[in-house]
Amino acid sequence: MENISINVHEADFDVAGLQRGLLSGLSEEGAVATFTGYVRRANDDRQVSTLELEHYPGMTEQSIKTIIDEAADRWPLLAASVVHRVGRLSPGDQIVWVGVASTHREAAFSACEFIMDYLKTRAPFWKKELGPFGEIWVSARQDDESRAARWQDDSTP
């Protein structure tokens, strides 16, 4: 793959700049699929006022690299970029961006969804919600595990 970019930081990000970066230097892109995740205003009916995001520096970047490499083994990709914020975030804030470029849309869509599913279940990030209810560490969703597992049953998309 020509371009791989992985960034974990506190600052907000600009999706247009990230998409330009994804394409920079490519000569044959046809398709870009992206995903942006936002901090929810409520979770299971809890009103969230602040989200704290913790990560495991070093391992986080490594695990994202491994996820992208696995996606590139499965689909013909030209570029992939992941940005994940950490620290204190507010409802409505951007939290994660995944962008994938390919010559064809099916590869771009599948790889983008694959990377998100694995990011949710393999990359060492942890969310804590703060609000009128106090503080709660967010629990892992069984549904996220199921979504990641389905790629194993379906390894030749």
């Binding site: 495991y56 060492p124 996220d144």
Partner: protein, 84 residues
């Protein structure tokens, strides 16, 4: 030397983000290290570190079984991840 790290809920429950331990100059595996930590820090640590869904990583790679450790290794304990 061994570096032991705790993250997120585990870090808060132990009130400890990490420890540095001398290499014991003998063979050491992950489960033995965990048992030593529990023995040294009491029942509260044992309750936490033996939780069913605990994830353990050695040198930033998740391990699902016991494994040999080496001088200089970085060992981490953390709960299931919830990013994205």
């Amino acid at each position: 030397m061994l570096k032991v790290l705790f993250f997120a809920r585990i870090r808060e429950e132990l009130a400890c983000s990490g420890l540095e331990l001398h290499w014991p100059d003998t063979r050491l595996d992950l489960y033995t290290l965990q048992e030593q930590l529990c023995a040294e820090h009491g029942q509260s640590w044992r309750d936490i570190l033996t939780q069913d869904n605990m994830i353990r990583a050695v040198n930033q790679k998740v391990v699902t079984d016991n494994c040999e450790l080496n001088d200089g290794d970085e060992i981490a304990f953390f709960p299931p991840v919830t990013g994205g």
